[in-house]
Symmetry: D3
Subunit: 283 residues, 6 copies
């Protein structure tokens, strides 16, 4: 799994803190003395894959650089037994209380994604297929959601419209055919980007291969069509199964021999993991 660059963490967390704090945490500023300290444990209360510890740590530290965020595990840790202590936060009480919800919102959401990515990946275990995500993400959260997907052991499809060529039927029609569309994209886009063509039937699969596509998306095909497509392509391109794939259908799809199965639900329909902050008893 690859990590997150620090600038991305910093700007995401600052924006989230500003959104929550607004003109000020009126409750905390009114009731908690400026120098008070406290300590709390970050507890996972449901099983899953932890993701987002760097963001949680940043949420506290941006408000007070002296807050200690002591990790008990790293991103990617699989929680089996609950409650499970995943970190200890100690320091200025105002900073900890004000940042609490922001830290948890990141942790719960990203851990939910990592957990789902892992579950889908386990379902294709033993096949040749790898689970990947899509661009069906939540506005503003793409880089973080895709990090969580990696944390759960699945792979990333392109991050945006600029880091991969994906030719769909509109592009094909406008260009006057798959061959011409692929050719235009090869010329216009960086050579560092692969070219994927969306095929809705076997005829389009053949055309995509003939046009030299690097990847062929088998869009909403039947299992049988997919098997035939994989056989015809015979390794000349990467194959990606796509279209409304769910937990109960993914295994059969993976067994058709495709290389990738892209699953939108991992990022567009996230079940938050249950994680909370438990404050130590105050004397």
């Amino acid at each position: 799994m690859i990590d997150l660059d620090p600038l991305i963490v910093d700007s995401a967390v600052r924006a989230a803190l500003s959104e929550d704090i607004g003109r000020g945490d009126v409750t905390t500023l009114s009731t908690i003395p400026e120098q008070q300290v406290c300590s709390a444990r970050v507890l996972a209360k449901s099983p899953g894959v932890i993701c987002g510890l760097a963001l949680a740590a940043a949420a506290f530290r941006i408000l007070d650089a002296n807050v200690q965020f002591e990790r008990r595990c790293d991103d990617g840790y699989v929680v089996d037994q609950t409650p499970c202590e995943i970190a200890i936060v100690t320091g200025n009480a105002r900073a900890i209380l004000t940042a609490e919800r922001t830290a948890l919102n990141f942790l719960q959401h990203l851990s939910g994604i990592a957990t789902s990515a892992r579950r889908f990946s386990q379902l294709v275990d033993g096949t040749s297929a790898r689970v990947v995500d899509t661009r069906k993400t939540l506005p503003g959260m793409r880089a973080l959601q895709k990090y969580a997907v990696r944390t759960g052991g699945a792979g990333n499809h392109r991050f945006g419209l600029d880091d991969g060529v994906l030719i769909k039927d509109n592009h094909i029609a406008a260009a006057g055919g798959i061959r011409e569309a692929v050719s235009r994209a090869r010329y216009g886009a960086s050579h560092m980007l692969k070219v994927e063509v969306e095929a809705e039937d076997l005829a389009q699969v053949d055309e995509a291969i003939a046009a030299g596509a690097d990847i062929v998306m088998l869009d909403n095909m039947s299992l049988e069509e997919m098997r035939v497509a994989v056989a015809r392509i015979a390794g000349r391109a990467i194959t990606e199964a796509s279209g409304g794939i769910r937990e109960d259908t993914i295994r059969a799809i993976a067994e058709t021999g495709v290389d990738l199965v892209s699953v939108g639900t991992i990022t567009h329909s996230v079940q938050a993991m249950d994680i909370s902050l438990d404050f130590d008893q105050r004397k």
Copy 2:
């Protein structure tokens, strides 16, 4: 349901477009001529409550001010039979293809929230309780998620740490008791904000009422405790049930007589509604 201010729509959509477009939609720019036009239908493919049409319209129009986005319904429309045509988009093909995913990501997510808000609200129908949301939202999406909650017929809890006082046990401990915490908050916060106190047992409920709280949160109480609390409070404060409330538990909770039931899952664990763009056949 109250609407969204136009500045909020504009800035959210610009940020989302930039996230998706990055350095440019290489596929579309390579294959689609600059002046080409097209037309597509926005179709709901699963039942639910539509939300986010203003954001979808803005996504297309920010890229080309001449794109027509013709609504077939308004936010709050309940889709029963599918597929259901909810809008028609016509205009510059590059703009429509480049904005497609951004528009759908907003629509699918916000409609998912509105649908969930409506489902929870229906579950408490006939009781005195109203469903409200929480601050367990996705970073950067709070104003929009809370709009979707309203669209689904539920109500909004505070938007941030600045537009409502919510006194929890840490605040109480630091202030030296509920009475002192409420008093400090009344003095420090605007008189326009209500003061809510989180009570974990009936003793705290009594204290909160004695301290003059406007709202008492009954946190993770049993049904029986809630019934007693409601009776004791007797209208002197608004009562809010809170803590891990699910579809299968909300009815019984609402029947205890509480005024509000706050449900985190509406915003933190969203099931996207199935909405897509169907392009008209090209000759």
Copy 3:
């Protein structure tokens, strides 16, 4: 008095420094060696209430993290005898000279507000009324100005259009009456926000009370009308006197028994406090 969150201080000061520095402090960069140090005293030269020390400290430290800003008092300190030393700044001379005006502009303006807030509050001393501010603030300065109001001992009205419902005659007319307007606002706005109705005569006061308003604004009423209104409301709502209130009129208004007196002049017509930086003699 409640404090300021650190993110608010940081972003306000960075923006102000950028506004003043522009493409560079050409005088200082040309004449002062990079490593030179100096020391200066922040002196109050007129009586008043000090406010803004955190912003002044941040102005120096953002330019050089090693500058020492040693406070001789805290925000809220009342200067009686002048000159009064309120802080000592020591460190890199470039940073101190470049940040000087920004630091002082914050201190002088916010201390001016705190001083005025205190003066108005003293004028109602012994009555049941509390002085509060308005939204008649200077663009971009609202959170800071309202902090200064608290520092001077007065209270805050709502911070924006989003953290309080204030129903005026246009809203009433559009909704078709006070009862309907209040009802719509209760449904549309968060339950954490109080609902205030602006009443121009006693009939509207009665309507507002009947509609369940939390707060009734007595707008530009005569002293006699206010007394009657307070009596009729009889504690069923908070009462706020509003409209062109000045130092020479506030006492009589407060003595009508109203709970709040809102005064726009505290933030819209600020007399800066005289505060300057005195550099130590250079050998």
Copy 4:
């Protein structure tokens, strides 16, 4: 008087609207139907110089491009008799109600500055002196405040640390004398910028002239000292009187023969002009 560039107007107004609207104007969105229209008059209720009409117009139009803002006068218009109608606003009621306070806050503050600038300028009428402003402005408002100063007929001192060289005693001491400081600044700064030297006594005046200063600031000098300084300088540099200048002292200072009198109070202690929005009677 010179005008404001449109980008400056647009960004200032957008920021101010966002500050006031926050997550949404809950009152207006709850009570006013989306398509309702209204009309209102902008009325000046105290005498003074109008300033900020472009900002007021922008506040309404940014929220709804179809709002009509019909000016009855231009910036710089002198209101003698009140009430005086200065503009008519017609269009979408939500946009007008939501932008009202932002528009007025700009108008009241900037008109207050223009009024003060005009008053000070009239006080030196017939002398050779021109009134100019200082950098004692309110954070974030400098370009607008300086525009208001010009609107009132006074002149602008430098806008920031980057568009003028002003050598004070710290710079002199660090450079090792006025001659060396001026020489360094001439070399380091653009030749488009004049070099001003702050002189506290006549000896420093002589040194500044000998060093070739373009402008000499006579800082907190007595009237007699200023007269001597003006005579000695004899047109070889522009002379600027500075230091705590008030309405009751400016005339005598101007009569010493100085070219400029800089007055901080015009921008740091602004008395807002009384301007409000009067809505037309609703049937």
Copy 5:
């Protein structure tokens, strides 16, 4: 050649206008009446490839939406004879004068790049090689510079560290060899991105091919080494020649049979094209 997305144009031009205008175009605002109109021709005065017309048009229109920018050619037009009229600008004189330098700075720089890209591309004409750019661009200008490279007929290497994997010796050393580095990158990066390995000698070329690299960079190799490398690779990967390539060396390099020749100088050492605005005679 692929185009630029409109959001990229808009934000680049707004930032450049703000940089140049600062607190206001004092000359134009002082001397040109608000309603004055004028007309000017954009003239190319040296041969080259025009690039940046959309940015120039935006510069004028952002300041005044009614300015007409009538193109006489499109981006990519090759100017042979000079002067050559490339556009006519007509409208508000303030807007045109204030935006003039910003518009020209974009046009001159981007046309300079396009011209250079074309010259390098012509030098390899008839070989199998295509010229591509590098990440040696000017901070803040990358997307625009790479657009200009395409306009001149050359291709784009990756836009940033995120849209292509380029494994250099440090990555290889840290991973423990080329095979392991490629394997980690394949797992960590999106499958849409190609993996390139930098090879400094033929042994590394062999390793890269064995590891399955999509592209092999032949870094600072001799012509002879490159010929051997191309032969050994035999189409199993794309080959890229890299390292200090100049106009006088590129032909021989291209003739070694490499697929790509990357040239930093096209973007890091740009000779601006001579383009100016000629105002029509004023009566």
Copy 6:
């Protein structure tokens, strides 16, 4: 030479890092362990004037505050013999590899400008003329480019449209003559700004002097015209030669006796200096 303010360095480098890193340095994050350290030397490989060390240092430190950037020289150092070690970077390998290109892009570009500024300045050595830059800069880079010009020993013309008055023929025509244009600008602009008039012939030179211009630009005049203009002006204004000045023409122009020679090519057509990062051998 004057330095750069730290806020300018910080914001320029953060923006450049974000542009290059985008959604993450996929190569480095995939292959380099989080805690790995490395060391590298910044080497100048062509002669020239070093400029931009503060920006290079910031690029590394923003990604990891513990990276050591040890300077071997300061900005302005003249590299004669190559390779020349100009700094040593030591610390976290991810931070160093990810920031490498950003750091070098600043260094190479700014050193290229400083080198060119020095070369032009040497060409006028012994004359009375000083070389200055223009506003023909690269969008977003003006403050940095102008710093590099100073580093090379040349001077700065105005930074934008706001820090100097430059009256051209359009302004003259609109104002109705040079005298009126100068008069309007003196009134409208700050007295801290000098007023320059562009003269295309000797008649205009005379008019500019009569109007009291501080600076007269001799625009595209012949050498003989310039000599006559300098003689006529006789020190009553600064003289600036302008218009397509090149290395082979500047000496003769400087010898006409002008005070300033403005050269656009220094900033609009920059030859990058050859600077690279050499990593220490890894065991």
